[in-house]
Amino acid sequence: MPKPQLAKDPYNIIISGVGGQGNIMASRVIAGMLALNGYNITIGETFGSSQRGGSVMSHIRVSQESVWSPQIPKCTADFIISLEPSEAIRVLADYGNKNTVVVTNDRPVHSIQVISGAMNYPSNVQIEAFFAKYTARSYMVNATEEAIKLGAPILANIIIIGASVGINLLPVDREDFKSIISQQVKPQFVDKNVSAFDIGVKKVSTLK
C-alpha cells in the first residue's frame, strides 16, 4: 500500500498525556519515522520539573520545506495523538479546529483533584460526545488495557502509535516503525514493541 500524502505543509501533530506515560518517547518515535521519510521535523516539548503529575505535550511540525516554530499556533493542530482522554480534550480545545483528527487512549489518569473528590472525571460517553461534536474523526483505543495484557502498561504509548499509523494519515509504515524502535530500545525488546504497534493498528481498524 502506498504511503499517504500529508494533508498540508506544515502538518501539525500534538502528542499529549500525563507525566510518566511515555509521551516523549512516543513523540520521538513518530518524528523519527517522519524524518526517515525525508521530512524536515521540529519537535517542541514541554517537560521537566513542572510536569510532576501534570499535563505533558509535544508539538511536531512536519514540512517538506522549512524549520517551523517549536510551538504550533493555536487552532492549527491537524492530528492529536493522546495517551490520556481528558488531555486530548484539553489540547483539542486549545490547539484544534473542526478538521482535527484525534486518536486517544481511553484510560483515564486521575488528577489529585479527582482522587480527593473535589472534581469529577468525565464519563466515556461524555468524552465521546465531545469528540463527536468537535472533531472530523476520532478514535478511542483501549491501549492501556491491551498493554496490561502484554504485561507492560507503559506499552500503551506504542499501541497508540500503531493506532495513529493505522488510520492512514501519516506517510509512514510498519517498516519505518521497526527501524526507529530498533534505535530506541534494547534489541531484546524490539519484538514486543512491534507486537504492541500491530495491536494498535488492528484495534483502530475495528473502530473504523
Binding site: A35, S50, G53, I115, I127, F130, L155
Partner: protein
Amino acid sequence: MVVKVHPLLDQKEGSLHLYLGNEAIVRGALEGGVSVAAAYPGTPSSEILEGFSRIGKSRHMYVEWSVNEKVSCEVAAAASFSGLRSLCAMKQNGINVASDFLLHLALSGIRAGMVLVACEDPGALSSQNEAESRYFARLLEVPVLEPGNFQELKDMTAWAFDLSEQLHQFVIVRSCTRLSHASGIVKLGKLPEPADMAHFHFDGGLLDPLTGPMHSNPASLRHNWQQEKLKKARSIFEDSAFNSYQGSENPELLIITGSAANLYSKEAVHMLGLKDRVGIVKIGTTWPLPQDLVKKHLAKASHILFVEEVLPFMEEQVKMLAGENAAEVGIKTFYGKNDGTLPMTGELNPDIVMTSLAKIFNIKVDTAPQEWSYYAAVDAQKLVPGRELTFCAGCPHRASYWSIHNALQMVGREGFVNGDVGCYGLAIISAGFYVMKSHFSMGSGTGLASGFGKLREFGMEQPVLSVCGDSTFFHAAMPALVNAVHNKSNIIMVILDNGGTAMTGFQPHPGLKIDAMGNSSMPAINIEAVCSAIGAKTRVCDPFDLSATKDALLEFLEDTEGTKVLILKQMCALSPEKRSIKQYRMSVDKSLCLADTCGCNRLCTRVFRCPGLRWDPAAKATSIDEVVCNGCGVCADICPTGAIQKVKNPEAAKGHAKATVS
C-alpha cells in the same frame, strides 16, 4: 559484529540528524574540539552534560557533574588555562551561583576556548524565575551569542570556541527551553580529533595573560583590556553569518529578533501573509551588538518591532543606537515591550507575535472559526478536571511531609518548614500538605532556618525546620548548616535523601559512587558523617517507616538546644534502581473500607492523595490504580481500618529489576 556509532559521534560530514537542541549543542562543542565539559544539572540544560557523559570516554574527554555551577566554571577554566577547549553548561539560575568566579574570570581572560552555555526558561516552565544571561553578559562584559534555530545551536557553539580564543575571553551561548528541549534536523560538520595534552604555563611575566599566572589584578588595567576585547568582538560580529535578513529592501515594518523568538516571528509573518510587507532581522550575536549592521537594517524601514524574550534587551540597545544616529537612520516608530505591543514578562509564542502584528497592521486574525473555538473551550472547561502538580506515586517526599505535617500538628506552636529547589518545593502546595512556608534558592531553606532559629530571644516560639535534597546539600546547603551549628541555631534540618539529583533526571552527585564518566567506584561522601562532623545531632530514618520518622521528629522538636539533622533516606520512585519494581502489591478490602463514614474522613484519597489511589464517588469506595501505583506501601500504614493492604512483591525480594520494555 557491527559496532553502533552513537548519533553524536557520526563522522560523516553533511549527514542529517534529528537532534534535541541540547544534543545539537553537544555536537557543536565536539566539532569545536572540546576536551573538558562540566555542569551542575538544571532544566533545561541537563541533557548537555548527559550527552557528553555518554560519549566522553570514547572521545578522550573529561566530563564531570560538578558540585555546583561555580565549581563547574572553575573546572572548565582550569582546562582552558592548560590549553584544552572547555565547556560548562547551566540553567539561568546557575549563572547567579557562578557569577562571583565569572566576574574575576572575565577580567583575567582565558587561554584555550571556553564556552558557557546558559539554557534559560522564558515563562519559568521549570524554574522559579525567568532571569536571563544577556544582562549578566553586559555586567560581566563578555560576548553572548543567541542561536536562532537547531542548526545554529550546533554551528554557533562550535564557532564560540574559535571566537573565545580570538578574544582570549569566555563566550556565553544562550539557549532557551523552546530550543534546548525541542528537536530539529541538523547537518553535521567535521569532527576533529580532540587535543589530549594539557600543561599550565605560568612562568611568563606577572601581567602576561598568555604565559604568566592567571589572576584578575590589577583590575584597572585589565578592565581596559576587557573593553578592548568587546570592541574586537563587535567588529567580528559586523560580518557574522549568524546575523541575517529575510524580506524586501523596503519593508513597511522591520522585526528585530533572535533565539526562539526568531521562529515565532517567521511563523507569525507566514500565517498572516505579510511576507512582502515585513522584513526580519535575525541577530545571532546579541552582545556586543554589531552597530553598523543594525544601522544598515534600520535604514530600511521607519517602523520597527522588537520580538525577544524576556526583557527588552535588544530593544534598549537598538533604541540607544537609533537615538545616537538619528540623523543617519532617520526617525523611527518603535514597537516592542516598552510600549506594551508585546508583554514585558512570560514567554512568547507565534500567537502572541501574530496578535501584535495584526494590531500594528490593523488586520483580523482568523485562524479558526471563532464559534468553534469559543464553544469547544466552554465545553472543555466544563468537562476536563484540573491537574494540580503533585509528587509521583510512591514518592518518598509525600511520606516525609506526611510525618512532618503530623509532628508539627501534634506539637502545635505554628511550626514551619523552609525549603529550597527540588521536587520537594511542592510542599508549598497541597502535595506536601502546605508545610513549607518559605521557598527560595539552592540551600536557602537552611540559611533562612538558621536565621529564624535565632529569634527565640525575641519571643519567637515557633519550631523551625528546613528541608533540602541530597544533591542540594552538597551544592549549597553545607555552608548554611555550618552557620546554624556554629551559631547554635535551634533548628531541624531535614535532608530528603532520594539517592540522586532526581528532579532533573537522576544525575549523580558527590554522595554516590558513580560519576559522569561511567565510573562506579568513586569515593562517596557520606552525608550523615559530614553532618555529625560539623557538630549537628544527626539521625537517619526511612520515611516509609511513618512511626519511626514521626518519633524522631517529635524528639528533635522537644530538644530546644542547637541544630539537629534528620536524614530521611529512601530512593526516588523514578530512580533507575526502583523503576518498575513494586515493593508491595497493594489492594483494598472493600468490606473494611468505610469510605465517607470512616472516622478518618478519607485520609487516603482526600488528604494523602497519592496518584496511585482512586476514589469512586458513585460506589463510595477507594481503590488502587494498578497502572499508576508504584507499590511503596505507605497508604496501607495510614489507613485506620486496615482496608488498604500490602503484600510483599516476590519479584522485589529478588533484589533485581524485572525486565523493562523500553
